[in-house]
């Protein structure tokens, strides 16, 4: 930032410098050095991220399916998509998942952070325990969750039945409960990560602000509502962007626990891309779905970014 500003505010000197041949040579050489440093990363990004993204856009306009050569079909895939109940099902499942998991995870992370900001014996252990799910493999730990929820031999199913919550065919085969179950695991997985970000935010709030509010007679809830929460809005923004984007891409625990079922009740967009692309091998159609996901994610992050620019807090 500062370098940009100095470059803008100092055009006379820069112009003078530019007449200086050896210096120009030096800056030229510097630019070459910079591009050399960037080359490996840019090559990889160009070949394995950027190019495939563009290629996906092209494939989405063809009927390519790995066996048959790509044939141009124009917008047929998108027309089919918007009339396809499986797509709308996956779309609304994804929206449902994100609309529940994002706020619940953030709210819980905030509550846990405020709770764990207090001093008490064993605090470090509790923090580590809450953070641990974030670093273990969701695909692997979901096997344990599926087992815990097994209707016959699962411990959690048994505990739930002891308190009167019984699902005969098991939570994961129950069209009503399968989605809440995979949502629950999604929240469980990420809440510790956002909690850590909130904890850092809490620790950066100057203590005298709370002290001043206390002297003014604000109670604990008022101090939280009017001092803590506004000062955490940078963290809230960061966390909500990350949580939203992550929940729109939900896949791992769904693949392991329900495989999109029962009756496609937990099939999200990424699950649908996987099914159409890699099980039905409909590459063109799968690419079209993935582009819809891309645009969806991009729009949402842009909206959130624009919103955030207006309410950044500095202190």
């Amino acid at each position: 930032m500062t370098t940009l500003q100095t470059a803008q505010t100092a055009p006379p000197q820069a112009a003078a410098a530019r007449t200086d041949a050896p210096r120009r040579h030096r800056s030229h050489r510097k630019a070459i050095t910079a591009w050399l440093f960037l080359t490996p990363a840019l090559l990889v990004l160009a070949a394995f991220t950027l190019y495939p993204m563009v290629q996906a856009a092209y494939l989405s306009l063809t009927n390519y399916n790995l066996i048959r050569a790509a044939e141009w079909v124009g917008l047929d895939n998108y027309v089919e998509l918007f009339g396809d109940p499986a797509f709308w099902n996956a779309f609304w499942n994804t929206v449902y998942y994100a609309a529940v998991v994002t706020p619940v995870t953030i709210g819980l992370a905030l509550v846990l952070a405020v709770f764990l900001d207090r001093q008490f014996a064993g605090r470090a252990f509790v923090r580590t325990a809450i953070f641990l799910p974030f670093i273990v493999s969701l695909g692997i730990i979901a096997i344990a969750w599926a087992f815990l929820l097994d209707p016959n031999i699962g411990l959690l199913s048994y505990w739930l039945s002891q308190v009167g919550i019984v699902s005969g065919q098991g939570v994961l085969s129950d069209p009503q409960w399968a989605m809440p179950a995979v949502m629950f695991v999604g929240v469980w997985k990420n809440v510790g990560f956002y909690m850590v970000i909130y904890l850092a935010g809490l620790q950066s709030i100057p203590e005298d602000l709370h002290e001043a509010a206390r002297l003014d007679g604000a109670n604990a809830w008022q101090r939280f509502r009017n001092v803590t929460l506004p000062l955490l809005s940078n963290q809230t923004l960061l966390v909500s962007v990350m949580a939203l984007i992550a929940s729109l891409q939900a896949f791992d625990q769904i693949y392991v626990m329900t495989h999109g079922g029962p009756f496609f009740r937990t099939e999200t967009l990424v699950m649908l891309i996987y099914r159409e692309g890699f099980q039905e091998l409909r590459f063109g159609y799968g690419a079209a779905i993935s582009w819809v996901l891309l645009i969806f994610v991009f729009l949402l992050s842009m909206i959130q970014y624009g919103y955030s620019q207006r309410r950044q807090v500095r202190y």
């Binding site: 493999s137 695909g139 815990l148 016959n152 031999i153 469980w188 850092a200 993935s290």
Partner: protein, 298 residues
């Protein structure tokens, strides 16, 4: 720091006045502390439930696993699952695949990310803004959109079902570049200016000055890359047609899907699969948590 120290010093008379209000205050205060600690432990155990369940079940004999009612604590201990897992699943193969995949992606990506980050944070050149915007955009877009063309591309050159095919597209990472750039920007400039005065090349400055200073950030990002790839399910699942060429999460998921679920075996395998990441994390926990806490907040 100083402000907090000062404010507590100023507060002391007030605090001691509060403390003088009598033993009942002290009692409720202590009771609160105990309640908080107990609530904390309960939350911690609830969060750890699947891991605890996994660990205990891995030591239960099959008869205990299917017994009703299920119990957390094993009624009998056995090591058979830890023996069987190596023969029933190509577990050693999966393990080796995962180590090679996650290990090489981590090392190569740390190198490429940090080189790009160095150029973006420390070198002036025209086009820098464009590159930065590109990286931010790539950071925002969901990678799933690349899966089909990437698979197609790697398939056409015979790299599907191979480790290089899995590794090569992950040799750098937009998030890693951005993360390290932010860190490099926060480093003081005087050391590298001194080195530059002495005529050190940019490579020397990058490798000899910046990289040693960036150790905590590199460790944090290293764990990020390592756990992300060690844990990843979708990419290895797509890239491997069978259990043999998969990594642990994909291999275990494939095994779970193909067989009548043998939970004892799966839990033993899962436990072994989680251990390296947990160990790595506990080892560098302090700098890792400090690192993510400040990510993107500058």
């Amino acid at each position: 720091m100083t402000t907090t120290v000062e404010s507590t010093a100023v507060d002391r008379p007030a605090a001691s006045a509060r403390r003088r209000t009598g033993p009942s205050y002290l009692n409720t205060h202590a009771a609160w502390k105990w309640l908080t600690a107990i609530a904390g432990i309960v939350i911690a155990l609830a969060m750890l439930l699947p891991i605890i369940w996994m660990a205990f079940t891995a030591f239960k004999p099959e008869s205990d696993i299917v017994a009703f009612p299920p119990t957390l604590w094993p009624r009998e201990l056995t090591f058979e699952h830890f023996v069987d897992v190596w023969s029933r699943i190509p577990f050693a193969r999966l393990y080796l695949n995962t180590i090679i995949f996650a290990g090489s992606v981590t090392l190569i990506s740390l190198l490429f990310d940090s080189m790009a980050a160095y150029a973006l944070a420390r070198l002036e050149f025209s086009g820098r803004g464009v590159v930065l915007v590109l990286i931010l955009v790539l950071l925002m877009l969901p990678f799933q959109v690349t899966l089909i063309p990437l698979y197609d591309m790697l398939n056409s050159i015979g790299l599907t079902n191979t480790l290089p095919g899995m590794i090569i597209p992950r040799m750098t990472n937009a998030f890693g570049i951005f993360f390290l750039r932010q860190f490099f920007l926060s480093l003081p400039k005087d050391l590298e200016e001194a080195a530059r005065m002495d005529g050190a090349s940019e490579w020397r400055i990058y490798w000899g000055v910046i990289m040693p200073l960036a150790k905590p950030a590199l460790l944090t990002l290293g764990l990020f890359h390592f756990q992300y790839n060690w844990n990843d399910l979708l990419w290895p699942l797509i890239m491997s047609a069978d259990v043999e060429s998969a990594t642990l999460p994909a291999g275990l998921a494939l095994f779970m899907g193909q067989h009548v679920v043998e939970y004892g075996l799966l839990m033993a395998g899962s436990l072994l699969a989680l251990l390296p990441v947990i160990a790595f994390f506990l080892l560098i926990q302090r700098s890792f948590v400090a690192g993510i806490a400040t990510t993107g907040l500058k």
